[in-house]
Symmetry: C2
């Protein structure tokens, strides 16, 4: 028997990611749970407008999207709770610059560098439409076909 519980957003679980940006030249990290897929080559990052990272996205037009593994969980949670305007979060993860110049977290098993091509704004959210430019995968996560392992 189904119960109507109102207009509840119940599309879960979805993958949470750590988004890497540069704000005023300094690396910043933000945990983002709402990432969607558009077509077959774009993703949409839905970020509350007041996040510090949004400035960096607008300044640079690019982001890294870092998948989270278990070892990263506590720090991923931290960068989702503490704002970049108050705290320097640049050293929470060890990173290097990807070919497109975004911060790629060393220990993340799968990272997409993205170019931001549009912003579908809603009242309180920037919804950044992103084209994927590079995808980095840990070699032990690759199948023989060189596609990432998924459970879907």
């Amino acid at each position: 028997m189904k119960k109507n519980i109102g207009n509840v957003l119940a599309l879960y679980p979805t993958p949470a990611v750590v988004v890497g940006t540069e704000v005023n030249g300094k690396v910043n990290w933000l945990l983002v749970a709402h990432v969607g897929i558009i077509g077959h080559d774009q993703i949409m990052l839905s970020l509350f407008k007041k996040h510090y990272s949004n400035e960096g996205v607008k300044q640079t037009g690019k982001v890294s999207v870092n998948m989270v593994n278990e070892a990263m969980l506590v720090r991923a949670d931290y960068v989702g709770c503490v704002g970049g305007a108050k705290a320097d979060k640049s050293d929470v993860f060890i990173y290097h610059k990807g070919e497109a110049g975004t911060p790629v977290i060393d220990e993340s098993p799968l990272v997409m560098e993205c170019e931001v091509v549009d912003n579908y704004e809603t009242d309180t959210f920037d919804n950044f439409i992103c084209k994927i430019t590079n995808t980095y995968v840990d070699e032990d996560c690759l199948t023989k076909r060189e596609s990432p392992i998924t459970t879907s």
Copy 2:
């Protein structure tokens, strides 16, 4: 060691849903894997423009979003492979009409009825922006707080 495998869309797994529409007055089902979240009250359904269901979404301005359980998998796959223009798929799932008039699959554990408020079009995709109007959950999937059980 990470390997650059090009611009691969690798944001998986994400929840696949069966989208219910009415096209020319007849119920049609389509399996949709690319559903994103915007803000806290909207979802985005990314549908290849040539799908038959898109007509129904445009005609009626509403859809049902039915989560898939294991028992539904084979039929969910079927409605994703066979086009509604050729086959009558209305009887693949037993359904009733929700309060907003969309087809709600009886056996789906969690269904959201949505109003379509916009279409963020890309080259080959309709990306329907949807406001959730009703959420139906099987009572045995509810916790005491009457929120759906999630594993996130």
